[in-house]
Symmetry: C2
Subunit: 210 residues, 2 copies
């Protein structure tokens, strides 16, 4: 396959290298520094450097791997995407990585903290199906579910961490309460997989490390 | 510990049972059907049924496990939450479970589909750090990263599925492109764990099943 890469930074170069190694023809494009782009293409067999318009024109699949701030410019530079498979691996983060730049403004947890005055709100247990709690074990074979939780009160979080362990999960402190803005879509995502995609309720997430 | 449960449905009863079995005193509350609530309490040692106000008043920890539509009513019924640890396990879903009811309005992927006219946009590769692509292997010991992807074009998704396998991940079709509204917060969540929480970039998610 011919695979065009728009945005040849850390992400685009990493994926491009792998696909080139698998025998695809990779075209790297969209760099502030043409020397770097050429150097990258020289170092990766089955690859070359080109303009975004050439990369799109000559590929069936295009990977968009630019910062959110550059998305519009990059797409314009790509020209026509008619019939192209466009893989979007962007995350629309603020420039300082502090939050999502679009589409996300609040969370149930934050609203609940406003309603339940003086409560020490901790978000937890929203990413696993109730059926898992009702079954005889929380184990998935030898594997353990990671339970992400977040909140603004240190002591309250310590209490909840203990309760998570008692349920049989690995507790993972995800930070302050506003991280519920990511944990609630994650809960919704599990609903999407379990019910809409038909995977059922015996699914869970495990954070793996190395 | 005394643990009050507001909302004694599937979620609240499941967690309440586990904690009661661990030796905590559990108070179930907030049910449309007092008979069911009493029956639940009778069937679970170390538990009793009460009003939400009593459940809150007599507990150090309160689990809020009601539907999003009932949150405000449930919190009012709970009275004062002063100094209480309030565990929020709600997901603010629409009544038909079709989407998040608050806080989420669009996604980068959907914006990109609008900008790149006629492209077959597929969201993928946004939940793993670039460093993982640059390293010598995608394996985490014996464990495999699950790569969630979504899009509206069946053929484009088949192509991306193949590319995901070639990278060394387990592809999981998460549905239509608007599911990017959950996948992008998940990308942001990984940034939160990796950078803000200091877990580093050698982390990934594995969907476990049983």
């Amino acid at each position: 396959m011919n695979i065009g890469i728009i945005g040849s930074g850390n992400m685009g170069s990493g994926l491009g290298k792998i696909w080139a190694r698998r025998g695809h023809q990779v075209i790297f494009s969209f760099s502030r520094d043409m020397n770097k782009l050429n150097e990258l293409a020289r170092s990766v067999p089955n690859s070359r450097a080109a303009s975004p318009a050439e990369a799109v024109e000559q590929s069936e699949v295009v990977l968009l791997a630019v910062r959110w701030a550059n998305v519009e410019e990059a797409i314009k530079a790509g020209g026509s995407f008619k019939e192209k498979v466009l893989i979007d691996c962007t995350n629309p983060l603020n420039p300082d990585l502090s939050d999502l730049a679009i589409g996300h403004t609040t969370s149930a947890a934050e609203e609940i903290a406003r309603l339940a005055k003086e409560a020490k709100v901790v978000k937890a247990f929203n990413t696993v199906f109730a059926e898992v709690y009702h079954s005889s074990s929380r184990r998935f074979g030898t594997r353990m579910t990671s339970m992400f939780y977040c909140g603004d009160d240190v002591e309250a979080k310590a209490t909840v961490e203990k309760l998570i362990k008692e349920v049989g999960f690995e507790p993972i402190d995800a930070g302050p309460l506003k991280v519920a803005r990511y944990l609630e879509p994650l809960g919704m995502f599990m609903v999407q997989l379990g019910y809409v995609r038909g995977m059922g309720t015996n699914i869970a997430l495990s954070l793996i490390r190395r």
